[in-house]
Each structure stands twice: as structure tokens, then as C-alpha cells.
């Protein structure tokens, strides 16, 4: 098992799937000759050529639609949208075409596309380059939404997503491409549904996904070391569908829940997880569940304000202590 960077894991998945199946192609802005803004397709242009590694014009909605149309005939496009902020422009084709054709056609036509895109707040990129959009995609019936928190997940999820018959949106994070992690040397396919217990605990469950899993893990460590609180950390790597059973099981064990998301709380992952807890295991709760989320503002440029808008591990610790009345 080798330690590689997140971007290398994504790149390896592309490379293996493209070798495995000539119908796998990738497309997006500056992914070919340049190799991708985050190097996720580095070297693939030279290896597979311009027919299969396609530098697209800046036409998000239409190149996404083009990928979807190609998928109707068995092509397996991996579409990179340079930043999730630009995915707003492609929502029409993702939501109205990819997610709905199977249903509208009574099961005749499927759109097995993968759309992957980095979201999240990085370093002072300003309001139009800092959005988190997973909540928008989660609301679309017929679309799977997954979000890796480690290089292993990034690698294994992309490979499964390419082979899955459903359209899949993979939510990555701009700050995570240089993160290192172990990825199996042999081929590995990560599930697209479910959740993963990344730390066991008995006192409270911290739910995270993508970057917030790491905040949860840091917080859990501090809570254990300094406060004697043993937090369980659940990685909700599948945002649609959410793992109802996994959420219920953990909360039924710890009786307390904090949902941690980088996005704003309004109609977000936290809201959804709390609704599931209410519906499935309300009477198991020893305390009202809490959310640790962003402030509901366009992300400011100023560094101090930017940090203040986005939660971190300290905020998670503070929320848990508050919950325990400490």
C-alpha cells in the first residue's frame, strides 16, 4: 500500500479506467494539454490522445450535455468542471437530462456519466470561487452524489462511478488535492452508498463528509485527550442517498449527534441528517442534535472574515462541549 496524493489517486483512477475500457473518456476545461487545474488528468492527453482526453470550450452546460449524450451510446465520460461554482451553469443538463432520462423513458435510456468537480472554500478565492454546492445536487432525484475524504476514497469512488449505470456527481475539495493517504496497490472499488465509521466512540457521534471528516477527527482527538469525551466519527461519503441505517445505528449507540459541514446550514446536509435522526431515532436522543456549519454569507475575500465564515475543528469541540454542558 503506497502513500500518494489525492490528485494522484484521482489521476490513477482515470488512467486505469481508460485503459480498461476504450469507451471511457474524460473532458473539461484545460484537462488535456495542461493536465487539469489540479493535475487530475496529468499525462493522459499524451497517453490517450485528443479524442479521449478532450479540452472543451468554456461552455459548462453544453459540454456536460455533450458528455451525457455520448453516454446514451455507451461512452463513459468523466467530466471535470473546473470549479463547482461553474457547475451552476451545467445544472440544467445534469438535473434535467442526466438525472431524469431513465425515469422519463420508463427505463429505456440511461446516462452513466461522472461529473467531478472541486468545491469548497480555499484561500481567499472570493465569493464566486468558494461555494459548496453538494446540497444542490443532493436534491436531484436520479443523481448519485458522493464525496471522498481520502485519496483511497477518491480513487475507489471514481472507479465505481465510471462503471455504475447511474449518473454520479463527485464532490471534491480544492484544499485536499495535495493531501496524502494510503491507496491499495491492487485495484479497488469503493462503494457509492453507505457510510464509514472512521473512529469508534460511545459518547457522541460526529457526522462529517469530505473535508469536515478531518475536522471531526481532530475534534474527536481533542475531546478524548482533554475532556474525556469519546466521539464516534462517521464519514458520510455518500450524500445521495444518505445512509439512513448507518446514521440511525450510530445515534442509537451514542445518543448524541453533531453534524459538521463546510456549507451553510440552510437546506443542507446537516438539516437532512437531523431530519433522519428525528424520523428514525428521536427517542434515542439524550440532547438536541446540533449543526456546525458555515455562516450564511457569500464567502468574503478578507482572510480573517473568510475564516470566520467557515467552521473548523475548534468549532466542533465547542459544540460538543456545549452539548455536554461544559
Amino acid at each position: 500500500m503506497a502513500e500518494i496524493m489525492f490528485w494522484e489517486a484521482v489521476r490513477r483512477a482515470h488512467d486505469e479506467e481508460m485503459t480498461n475500457d476504450p469507451n471511457v473518456i474524460c473532458m473539461g476545461e484545460d484537462i488535456g494539454v495542461v493536465g487539469g487545474t489540479y493535475k487530475a488528468t496529468k499525462g493522459l492527453y499524451d497517453k490517450y490522445g485528443p479524442e479521449r482526453v478532450i479540452d472543451t470550450p468554456i461552455s459548462e452546460n453544453s459540454y456536460t450535455g455533450l458528455g451525457i449524450g455520448a453516454s446514451f451510446l455507451g461512452v463513459r465520460p468523466i467530466i471535470e468542471i473546473m470549479s463547482v461554482n461553474f457547475a451552476w451553469l451545467a445544472l440544467d443538463q445534469i438535473a434535467n437530462s442526466a438525472a431524469k432520462v431513465r425515469y422519463m423513458s420508463g427505463g429505456q435510456l440511461v446516462a452513466p456519466v461522472v461529473v467531478r468537480s472541486p468545491g469548497g472554500t480555499a484561500h481567499q478565492l472570493g465569493a464566486q470561487h468558494s461555494a459548496r454546492m453538494e446540497k444542490v445536487f443532493m436534491g436531484v432525484a436520479g443523481l448519485r452524489v458522493v464525496t471522498p475524504s481520502t485519496p483511497k476514497q477518491a480513487y475507489g469512488m471514481l472507479k465505481s462511478a465510471v462503471r455504475c449505470e447511474d449518473p454520479v456527481f463527485i464532490n471534491e475539495h480544492e484544499l485536499m488535492y495535495n493531501m496524502k493517504g494510503e491507496v491499495p496497490d491492487e485495484e479497488y472499488f469503493h462503494p457509492l452508498e453507505g457510510s464509514e465509521t472512521v473512529r469508534e466512540g460511545r459518547d457522541v457521534t460526529l457526522f462529517g463528509y469530505n473535508i469536515s471528516v478531518h475536522w471531526c477527527l481532530q475534534a474527536a482527538e481533542q475531546l478524548s485527550q482533554k475532556h474525556g469525551i469519546e466521539a464516534e466519527v462517521i464519514d458520510l461519503y455518500s450524500l445521495s442517498p444518505l445512509d439512513r441505517q448507518g446514521i440511525t445505528k450510530s445515534v442509537s449507540k451514542t445518543h448524541r449527534a453533531v453534524v459538521v459541514e463546510e456549507a451553510e446550514p440552510i437546506v443542507g446536509v446537516g438539516a437532512e441528517v437531523m431530519a433522519i435522526i428525528n424520523e428514525e431515532c428521536f427517542f434515542e436522543l439524550d440532547a438536541p442534535p446540533m449543526r456546525v456549519s458555515a455562516v450564511h454569507v457569500p464567502i468574503p475575500y478578507n482572510h480573517t472574515m473568510e475564516k470566520a465564515a467557515i467552521p473548523n475543528a475548534k468549532d466542533v469541540v465547542a459544540a460538543v462541549l456545549k452539548m455536554f454542558g461544559k
Binding site: 469507451n23 473518456i25 479524442e51 479521449r52 478532450i54 472543451t56 470550450p57 461552455s59 452546460n61 453544453s62 459540454y63 456536460t64 450535455g65 455533450l66 458528455g67 451525457i68 449524450g69 455520448a70 453516454s71 446514451f72 451510446l73 455507451g74 461512452v75 440544467d92 443538463q93 434535467n96 437530462s97 432520462v101 431513465r102 425515469y103 422519463m104 423513458s105 420508463g106 427505463g107 429505456q108 435510456l109 440511461v110 432525484a141 436520479g142 448519485r144 475507489g156 465505481s160 462511478a161 462503471r163 455504475c164 449505470e165 447511474d166 472499488f189 469503493h190 462503494p191 457509492l192 452508498e193 453507505g194
Partner: protein
């Protein structure tokens, strides 16, 4: 290239069938057998029929808007299943899940009707990209209205189609209106074929009421696309005889304009030519019409009416693939 007499007679039958099919949909809508939005095709028959006569229906891939029944039929969709879809039945071509605006017959390479104006432009380019990648002989044919050309997808998709030399034929059925807005009130350049010159795409404007003219132009267009010369844009000047949809009063059009176009009915024009040439009599035509009406009533409508509705217990079927092993980490993971 011109059509043989037998082909013209068959086309006449197919076009008349399309007309009667759509008129019967109108009645069924009034009877509340059909719900939702219903966009009918009368007046524009020469477009779908003329173009697809020159392509290979059932082989080439066809995609269009919500005004889609006749394109599906021409590709070979079973009219019983199309009507049953409009009646929202389980025997419908999309099992009652699609409706009038979303007819699909993937076996016949009819890749669907889409309700978002301009949505199919990139999908058609994508189908063409797949055909190019897979080195196949089929082409993609995309039929859309004139007003759709004001969407960004028109420009974005035509740019990519030209850039990558994709085998796609874009057919613009220019019926002069987008709902109630006449083209000169929405569009700076009224001649649509001129708009694609900026992308270096070959284009032509043709009388869309004359099925023989449409056919002749489409033969050239299809040949261009199939021979690897890249996309082609065919603008067909046409007119719809009814309102935009069933909820449209049609009050925005001048009666004189409607009368002018009704004198250029594509079916009557073809019929009269055949009569003049001594290949058809008025009696033949009447008999043909009666036979079609009888088929629609006694077979198609009957089938749609007698079919069962879908089982509500299957509401969540067709959202995702069933038992896709990759969802759980691949076949090895059981």
C-alpha cells in the same frame, strides 16, 4: 435525388397518418383522456418526414423537443404504444412515466423528446461524439424549433460540433413563433441558417411545406454529415396550424397569415401533385383517409383506452439502476 412514385404514396400515407394521429390526440385531450402539456404537429409534417426519409429511421439517432410524437412515429415507434403513453398507461412507450413531451424509443434510436427549450442541442452533439469515437456509420439528427436558437446551448453546441467535426444534422423547424412571440420580435437575425455561418457550418434554408424539396435538401445534408464533412444545419420554413400547445389560444397570429399558410398544407400539396400526375385519384385518397381513421380508432385508441395504468407501488422504479454491483464496490463485494 427525387422520390419514386411508390415512395411518394407511402409518404403521403405516413404524413396523413401523422395528421390524423395528432388530431385524434386533440380530441382525446378535450375528452380529458390526455393530460398535461400537449404540443401538436399539424402543418409541419413535411419536416420530420422529409428529413428522415433521407436519413435512415431506426438506424440514425434522432432527438427532438416536446413536439415529438411524429418524429418518434417516423423512427418506427409503435403508434399504439405512443398513444398509450399519452393516455398515461403502463403499456405506453415509456410506461406512462414520460408523457407527450417525453416520448422515447431507444430500440428505434429515437433518443427522446425533451421539454427544456434548447436541451437537445448538446445531447445530439454528444451522440455524434459517441458515433465518431466508436467509428460508426450512423449519424445524429436533432430537430428543434426556431426560438430554441436563442439559447446558449445552440451556440455552445454548434461551436463544439464544428470544432470536432461531429456527425450531426441540426434541423431547425422554423414555424416563425416561439409560443406567441413572432420570430422578428425575439431574434435579431430572422434567417436562422445565417446564424451558423459564424461557426463555419454548412447550412441551407428550404421550403418546409414541400416534402419533396425537404427530402432533396436532406439527402444532400445527410450525405454531407455521413461522409465525415462535419455538421450541417438545415432550416425548414414551416407553420403550425394549431396553437403552441393545447392551452394556447393562438390569438397572436393574423388570420391572413394563417390562411396563407393553410394554402400550403404539406399533405394537400403532395396529394394534388400525385393526382395531377395521374398516380392517385380523389377516391384513393378518401379510401386511404378512411382506412387511417379506422386504424386510429379501432386499434390505437382502443389499445390505449383498454390498457392498465401503471402500478403506483412502482413509483420509485427507474430512478436508479436496479442491483448495480458497482454501487456496493463491485461484483467481488457481492
Amino acid at each position: 435525388m427525387s422520390l419514386k412514385i411508390d415512395d411518394k404514396k407511402r409518404l403521403l400515407r405516413e404524413m396523413l397518418f401523422s395528421r390524423r394521429f395528432e388530431e385524434r390526440c386533440y380530441e382525446a385531450y378535450v375528452e380529458r383522456k390526455i393530460g398535461g402539456f400537449l404540443h401538436l404537429y399539424p402543418g409541419q409534417e413535411a419536416c420530420a418526414h422529409g428529413v428522415l426519409e433521407a436519413a435512415r429511421p431506426g438506424f440514425d439517432y434522432v432527438i427532438t423537443s416536446y413536439r415529438d410524437h411524429v418524429h418518434a412515429l417516423k423512427c418506427g415507434a409503435d403508434p399504439k404504444a405512443v398513444m398509450a403513453e399519452l393516455f398515461a398507461k403502463e403499456t405506453g412507450i415509456c410506461k406512462g412515466r414520460g408523457g407527450s413531451m417525453h416520448i422515447f424509443d431507444v430500440d428505434k434510436h429515437f433518443m427522446g423528446g425533451y421539454a427544456l427549450v434548447g436541451g437537445p442541442f448538446p445531447l445530439a452533439a454528444g451522440i455524434a461524439k459517441a458515433l465518431q469515437l466508436q467509428k460508426r456509420e450512423e449519424i445524429a439528427v436533432c430537430f428543434l424549433g426556431d426560438a430554441a436558437n436563442n439559447q446558449g446551448t445552440f451556440h455552445e453546441s454548434l461551436n463544439m460540433a464544428a470544432l470536432w467535426n461531429l456527425p450531426v444534422l441540426y434541423v431547425c423547424e422554423n414555424n416563425l413563433y416561439g409560443i406567441g412571440t413572432r420570430i422578428d420580435r425575439s431574434t435579431a437575425v430572422v434567417d436562422q441558417y445565417k446564424r451558423v455561418s459564424g461557426y463555419g457550418i454548412a447550412a441551407e434554408q428550404i421550403d418546409g411545406q414541400d416534402v419533396e424539396a425537404v427530402y432533396a435538401a436532406a439527402v444532400k445534408a445527410v450525405k454531407h454529415v455521413r461522409s465525415g464533412k462535419g455538421p450541417f444545419f438545415l432550416e425548414l420554413m414551416t407553420y403550425r396550424y394549431r396553437g403552441h400547445s393545447m392551452s394556447d389560444s393562438n390569438a397572436y397570429r393574423e388570420k391572413a397569415e394563417e390562411r396563407r399558410w393553410s394554402k400550403r398544407d404539406p399533405i394537400i400539396m403532395l396529394r394534388d401533385r400525385l393526382i395531377e400526375a395521374g398516380k392517385l385519384t380523389r377516391e384513393d385518397y378518401k379510401a386511404l383517409d378512411d382506412e387511417i381513421l379506422e386504424e386510429i380508432e379501432n386499434e390505437i385508441i382502443k389499445f390505449a383506452e383498454e390498457s392498465p395504468e401503471p402500478d403506483v407501488a412502482e413509483l420509485e422504479k427507474y430512478v436508479f439502476a436496479e442491483n448495480d454491483p458497482w454501487v456496493n464496490g463491485g461484483p467481488a463485494n457481492g
